[in-house]
């Protein structure tokens, strides 16, 4: 990673998969994670022993992952983590994923807790790095991701 650059905030436009607003710190995944078998919904920790970031906690982060992976039970695990308050507060992807979107949609429907899920252009997605301050806003009209670095 290069030296930190201070500068203007930048705004990326994306596509909303599930609405909501959140501001926090980026946690970037080095590899896609299957929430089923990969995320402990009680603690928010990555438990997939094959994942390079096993042991890292996702709770309260803005999760930046390129795409989804694995089992369709992932929707249930994400919804359960949102209910428990152990989930990321927003998810930014480069490839749309219905399984991830569904977990957030259902948590919104039954608990009225909104975790925005947003898809951005892969080129923009690559620029997002762990530790960065980030704000995610998604509604039926569109989605924006604002970063300061």
């Amino acid at each position: 990673m290069g030296s930190p650059v201070t500068g203007e905030p930048s705004t990326i436009h994306g596509r909303p998969l599930s609405p909501g607003n959140a501001a926090g710190t980026v946690l970037r995944l080095d590899e896609p994670l299957s929430f089923w078998g990969g995320l402990d919904a009680e603690t928010g920790e990555i438990i997939d022993r094959r994942h390079p970031q096993v042991g890292v906690n996702l709770a309260g982060t803005v999760l930046v992952m390129e795409r989804g992976r694995g089992s369709s039970s992932g929707s249930s695990v994400l919804a359960e983590a949102i209910r428990n308050g152990t989930a990321p507060i927003a998810i930014v992807m480069a490839v749309p994923d219905e399984i991830v979107a569904l977990g957030a949609i259902v948590a919104d429907e039954i608990y009225e807790i909104r975790v925005p899920v947003v898809v951005v252009d892969p080129g923009d997605h690559e620029q997002l790095v762990s530790g960065q301050a980030i704000r995610v806003a998604a509604s039926v009209d569109g989605a924006t991701v604002c970063t300061t670095r």
């Binding site: 249930s76 219905e98 569904l102």
Partner: protein, 422 residues
């Protein structure tokens, strides 16, 4: 393009058919929008994975649907759940988890789903017809029904499965559409030694390798003999849907949308080609084991649920020998297959040999197996892939014949000659 809804879809959204169906229609339309669909389509059947317990959110969602008066509008089967209702004594987990799991199962029955409790609904006597639209969850079932039966489902997961069943509607997107069913990549096994094509376990390993190589693309396999059996196609699909996100594959000469390579490719031969060699097959096989120990504790077969023909082979391999007393041997299957093997007298033979049948669930989603210090052996690439993470066992992957010989001898033995000369 925005999503266009019919009058009936809009009436459902307004709650004219009750609050449960309104919730289901909201979820279907929200997912359709996320998938960029411009319309919904009618489905003729559904298979539900949401009946497997993952915590309170699953219960809360099912309760909201069921208490809102939801009933499925199409014939709907249920996937494995967290309890074996035919063998409840096997359950070793906390009682409160069992109570929650039982409630979840009841909610889905209350909504009119059939208590099939199997991850292999394609082995039931009634199966989806070619070209029909359905909404199936469970990755191995999705890949089988798309590839082998030619019915059409996208890769649906928890929540959307039951919402599609309750509304009778699904997003017109993904694998429902012709253009997304076209093969994008050739998996060429022409160069492999022919004897591999005669061993069952080869198809597990090929699927595992293919899933890793193709990710979520639709592959077409060339080079296999024609008319590959359903058990073998099931093995390829289940493994590929575990190591990758494969929702459909073609196999030239065996699957209905691939009479030849160009047809599978939508009128032209796919540009990308992956050539499989013997070393890749051996590496993929070795990738499925997490241990080299020969201390055997458990054998688990039947992921996905064993078919009648797979039981027939197991009976032949076992002969009249008993399982070694130090080994716990489990086979998971569905109730309909269980009834068939009971009628044929095979169940009694298996039980006499010391084999425990598991129904309604699977040995890696719920605590049913005895604790053991030894390794767990399986003939299933899917089980080998998920069990270490799910239930913390070390796995040795082998052919069904290896599993049986090991279980009889009480230690891991693998027949290397199966794989032929290096």
């Amino acid at each position: 393009m925005a999503l266009t809804l019919t009058d009936s879809d809009q009436a459902a959204l307004r709650g004219e058919f009750g609050p449960g169906r309104a919730l289901a229609m909201r979820v279907v339309t929200r997912v359709a929008t996320a998938m960029d669909a411009t319309s919904l389509l009618d489905i003729t059947g559904a298979h539900i994975d949401s009946c497997l317990d993952h915590g309170q959110a699953g219960i809360d969602f099912a309760a909201k649907l069921a208490d809102g008066g939801s009933l499925v509008r199409v014939p709907t089967t249920l996937n494995v759940a967290s309890l074996d209702l035919l063998h409840p004594e096997l359950y070793r987990g906390p009682p409160e988890t069992a109570i929650r799991a039982r409630r979840l199962m009841q909610y889905y029955q209350d909504m009119g789903c059939q208590p099939t409790w199997t991850c292999a609904p394609y082995q039931l006597s009634v199966r989806p017809k070619f070209g029909t639209h359905i909404a199936w969850a469970e990755s191995n079932a999705i890949v089988f029904v798309n590839s082998v039966l030619g019915a059409r489902t996208h890769r649906y997961g928890d929540f959307i499965d039951i919402c599609a069943a309750v509304t009778g509607r699904a997003p017109a997107a993904g694998l429902h559409l012709d253009e997304n069913r076209i093969a994008a990549v050739i998996v060429d096994v022409t160069g492999l030694q022919r004897h591999l094509f005669d061993i069952e376990v080869f198809y597990q390993v090929l699927g595992h390798l293919m899933g890793r190589l193709v990710g979520s693309r639709v592959p077409v396999i060339v080079g296999l003999p024609p008319d590959v059996s359903e058990d073998r196609l099931k093995a390829i699909g289940a493994a590929a849907a575990s190591s990758g996100s494969v929702g459909m594959f073609h196999c030239v000469g065996s699957t209905p949308e691939a009479p030849d390579l160009a047809t599978a490719g939508g009128g032209r031969v796919p540009q990308h080609r992956i050539t499989i060699d013997g070393a890749m097959i051996r590496d993929a096989r070795d990738d499925l084991s997490t241990s080299a120990s020969d201390e055997l504790g458990i054998v688990s077969l039947g992921t996905p649920h064993y078919s009648v023909t797979e039981f027939e082979r197991l009976i032949d391999l076992l002969g009249d020998r008993p399982i070694h007393p130090s080994v716990d041997f489990y086979v998971s299957t569905g109730r309909e297959v269980l009834a068939t093997i009971q009628q044929r007298g095979w169940l009694a033979r298996l039980e006499d040999a010391g084999i425990q049948l598991v129904t309604d669930t699977c040995t890696y989603v719920t605590p049913v197996m005895a604790q053991s210090s030894g390794v767990a052996m399986t003939d299933s690439a899917k089980w080998a892939y998920y069990a270490p993470g799910n239930i913390g066992v070390d796995v040795v992957f082998g052919a069904t014949s290896d599993c049986v010989e090991s279980a009889v001898q009480g230690r891991v033995v693998r027949d290397e000659s199966l794989w032929g000369p290096r």
